[in-house]
């Protein structure tokens, strides 16, 4: 398996001297092509900061991030934006759909920005929509559909560009359990069928149990790593709970 994302000596410090707060101490990690990796940890452990620095939304204080051979830390703002929209996909906790655009347009947006030819945009949007069961609501606006549908739309927008890597930040955080399960199954499905690489931040053990591998973070450092291997999801889930209780602070999130 080739390595898609490599982070070395990643550090992120907020604030200035005297008032500095270190969100990430020093993290090295790699994500292979086609992997579905989870990042877990208690509140304030630096999960989201890590995801943001890995996904080029935020710049690390020091260290390097290489995605598919490109050093993204050295890129300028302009190139980064282009890189983001052509090579990366994002799914956020609060969906982050554009209220002013319909579901279809929200999905088509990254393709339109990349100046893909309109016929192809149409094809790809409909193909994805069919896959994620969004065909019925293509002409609706985000405020007219449910949270689960919104999140599926966001997922569709993330994968429609066929990105190298999809970043998901607490994608199930605002969903009820049924929608959450559906979304996770869908993510597993796109991970399998489209061989999309996914990096997901979550503090929910159930969501995490869908991953191949989980990195546990505590106080800005990698605490441990848990590989699913050939375990069933149920067993894996139990193992995650064990690690969380060892980690401390995770109890409140146990179902």
């Amino acid at each position: 398996m080739s390595e898609l994302l490599i982070a070395k000596g990643l550090q992120k410090v907020y604030g200035r001297k005297g008032n500095a707060y270190t969100a990430i101490q020093s993290i090295d990690l790699t994500v292979g092509k086609g992997e579905f990796v989870g990042i877990m940890g208690p509140s304030g452990s630096g999960k989201t900061t890590l995801l943001n620095t890995l996904s080029t939304i935020d710049r690390p204080t020091s260290g390097s991030v290489t995605i598919n051979g490109t050093d993204v830390v050295q890129m300028n703002e302009q190139d980064l934006a282009t890189f983001r929209r052509e090579r990366l996909g994002f799914i956020f906790q609060d969906y982050n759909l554009l209220d002013t655009l319909s579901v279809e347009e929200n999905i088509a947006l990254p393709l339109a920005l990349a100046k893909v030819n309109p016929d192809e945009i149409d094809d790809r949007v409909h193909h994805i929509a069919a896959k994620l069961g969004l065909e019925e609501i293509l002409n609706k606006f985000p405020y007219e559909i449910s949270g689960g549908q919104q999140q599926r739309t966001a997922a569709a927008r993330a994968i429609v560009v066929r990105p190298d890597l999809i970043f998901a930040d607490e994608p199930t955080g605002a969903l009820d359990s049924k929608s959450a399960t559906a979304l996770l199954q869908m993510m597993t499905q796109i991970n399998d069928e489209e061989t999309a690489t996914i990096l997901m931040v979550t503090h929910d053990a159930f969501s995490a149990s869908y991953c191949h591998r989980i990195l546990f973070i505590k106080d800005g450092e990698i605490f441990t790593e848990l590989d699913r291997g050939h375990l069933t999801r149920k067993v894996y889930f139990q193992k995650i709970l064990d690690v969380l209780s060892a980690l401390g602070g995770g109890q409140s999130d146990i179902i």
Partner: protein, 647 residues
């Protein structure tokens, strides 16, 4: 810490937020103060030959209404911006009464400060504006710096009242909000508007109907319904039509551009179109107000500037010669010599040409018109005199008449109002009691005699003129042209003094170009000044309204643009999308405003029987330029707001 302190601290720390509101308050005070200062300025009052008080009073009422609306508008913009802050105070446990009082104090402090600053700037500006006014009115007065206590008093009273009401509104605000409203950002989406074919059709019908009515001749049946009702009907049609147009037709076009996928699915087009589509319903009202304001502004400034621009031409038409007089019997030579001497002595002007023509003034009647036209007297002039004078004043339009034929010279001829002279007849009653009938072969819309002597002139053949000369006492009109008559104030005064004993006063004394020209310039200069001043205020307010509106939107859309940046839209692309979207909002009302005013001014030009293309085009160009300036400024601020956050 007292509430007063909290209010003061709020202001010094949140300067940027307060700045816009503060600036528009200062601006309003400044404009109003400048205006009343001019009104109470003694030098202006002296310079004006007409009574300026009434026109200024009227204009100042318009200004007060406008300023009040403007302050109210910026106040509501300002308070909306602070919803969250107010909510936070409530959450921290301040009682509503306390928060309300704090807002009241804040508004009061701001108001008083802007009153003082506005008046200070206004004092400096008023001298500048008085200088412009005096220049426009073609008067040489040395403007000194003066402060009118009356102006200070009036401004203070008006604004204390407005500020008090605005502060009270701020106090009331807190009672209108529910805590939950204060925190919830405005995320309630407009329902996607539907295209209503009926509304679109109605919009087009109403606007074109309004235009059609406006362009009807004042003689037509329509205007017989009465001037005011028809004018109101036109206004109603055009404004309603504009509103419906913005509401429905724009939706139609946006929908169409959405369907056109090759364009729509291209870069940021989707973002700006979507944004516009989402807001179009709420925007319709503001766009209508702006289109209407633009139209009013353009009409006001277009009309006043056109009249001012043509003042020289009007003067030339009524006074084709610099001076004209009729010498008392036996004083002709003396008068002519005096004239030469005075011109030579004065030294700044040279005589260009001098002519003496014989005219006959008689009583007479014109027959065969709807209403009987019987001017107090008719002036008869011979064919050769007419042709000669015409040549001198540069009209190459000679006529050949047979005895019994007449050509009417009607300087006020209007296509809309004047009767058709051709083929009609007139009867001339000579002093001897003999009647002569003249057949009119046509008219010319100008005169070759200075106004007081021309009245209603008729050109007759040379033979007929000699015949009539024997039956009446002919008069000799001496007309001369000098160089640079527009600046001949001193010469005109001296000539009037020296010539008065030598010339007849019946029916009129000397007719000078300069006096007419000067009178027109000072009257029209005032009109021009008032028109331009109000237009400037309207324009600034119009621009500010769109600007505020767009900034409010920017604040609300911050999140949306944050999302876009996260999924990889560059700042440059975002700015491009904003430029397109704001451009649409700016361009639409400008286009309609220009169209409306073009129709109104066309109607005016028909009424004046005059092409006013050049002055109107100048006004529109200047207006558009300032407006475009506002556009760029708005795009800058908009994109600064939505691109501010780094994450």
């Amino acid at each position: 810490m007292t509430l007063f302190n909290l209010a003061r601290r709020n202001m010094s720390r949140n300067f940027y937020r307060y700045f816009l509101y503060f600036a528009s308050m200062i601006f309003s005070v400044m404009i109003f103060f400048t205006f009343v200062s001019i009104q109470f300025n003694h030098q202006v009052a002296q310079a004006a030959s007409v009574k300026i008080d009434t026109s200024f009073k009227g204009a100042s009422i318009v200004l007060i209404i406008f300023v009040a609306i403007f302050i109210w508008y910026s106040n509501s913009f300002f308070t909306k911006q602070r919803k969250k802050e107010v909510g936070l105070y409530a959450l921290l446990g301040l009682r509503k009464k306390q928060i309300g009082r704090m807002l009241f104090y804040e508004n009061l402090i701001l108001g008083l400060l802007s009153l003082i600053i506005g008046m200070l700037i206004g004092m400096l500006l008023s001298k500048f504006f008085v200088m412009i006014l005096v220049k426009l009115m073609d008067t040489a007065v040395n403007v000194s710096f003066s402060i009118s206590s009356q102006a200070i008093l009036e401004t203070t009273i008006v604004f204390l009242l407005i500020i008090f009401l605005a502060s009270l509104d701020g106090y009331r605000l807190i009672y209108r909000f529910q805590l939950i409203d204060l925190f919830r950002a405005e995320r309630v989406g407009d329902k996607a508007p539907r295209v209503s074919a009926l509304q679109s059709l109605l919009a087009v019908v109403l606007i074109s109907g309004g235009y059609w009515m406006a362009l009807q001749s004042l003689n037509s049946k329509l205007w017989h319904l009465g001037l005011l009702p028809v004018a109101l009907m036109i206004l109603f049609c055009v404004i309603t039509g504009t509103f419906l147009l913005f509401r429905s037709l724009t939706v139609y076009f946006l929908k169409r551009s959405k369907r056109h996928k090759t364009h729509y699915y291209r870069g940021t087009n989707m973002i700006s179109t979507g944004q516009l589509f989402y807001r179009i319903k709420g925007n319709a009202r503001v766009l209508t107000v702006i289109a209407t304001l633009s139209a009013i502004t353009l009409c006001a400034v277009g009309t006043s500037f056109s009249i001012y621009y043509e003042a020289g031409k009007y003067a030339k038409e009524s006074m084709p010669f610099s001076y004209a007089y009729i010498a008392k019997k036996g004083n002709q030579i003396k008068a002519d010599n005096t004239l030469e001497q005075v011109i030579k002595a004065e030294g700044h002007h040279r005589t260009l040409n001098k002519t003496a023509v014989s005219v006959i003034q008689v009583k007479g009647k014109l027959n065969g018109f709807k209403s009987v036209i019987s001017p107090p007297f008719l002036t008869l002039i011979s064919e050769s005199s007419f042709n000669g004078l015409g040549k001198i004043i540069g009209l190459n339009d000679p006529v050949r008449l047979n005895p019994g034929e007449g050509l009417i010279l009607d300087r006020y001829y209007s296509n809309q109002f004047s009767p058709n002279f051709q083929g009609k007849e007139g009867t001339i009653q000579s002093k001897t009691g003999k009647n002569t009938t003249l057949h009119f072969i046509g008219y010319r819309p100008y005169s070759v005699l200075n106004d007081p002597f021309a009245n209603f002139s008729i050109v007759v053949s040379d033979d007929q003129f000699h015949q009539l000369e024997r039956q009446n006492d002919p008069l000799t009109i001496t007309q001369i042209n000098v160089t640079d008559p527009s600046h001949s104030g001193r010469l005109t005064a001296q000539l009037t003094e020296k010539l008065n004993p030598l010339i007849t006063f019946t029916p009129f004394s000397m007719g000078s170009y300069y006096n007419t020209y000067h009178g027109m310039m000072s009257a029209y200069g005032l009109v021009m000044f008032l028109g331009a001043f109000l237009a400037l205020v309207f324009l600034l307010a119009t621009g500010s309204i769109i600007y505020f509106k767009q900034l409010t939107e920017a604040e609300q859309e911050k999140m949306q643009y944050g999302i876009l940046r996260k999924i990889g839209v560059t700042r440059k692309e975002i700015k491009g999308a904003i430029a397109k979207q704001v451009g649409f909002v700016f361009a639409l009302p400008l286009i309609l405003g220009i169209a409306h005013s073009a129709v109104a001014l066309t109607a005016l030009s028909r009424m004046l029987n005059q092409s006013i293309l050049i002055p109107v085009a100048v006004c529109m160009l200047v207006y558009t330029l300032i407006y475009v300036g506002y556009y760029f400024f708005t795009v800058q601020s908009y994109s600064r707001i939505v691109n501010l956050e780094s994450r």
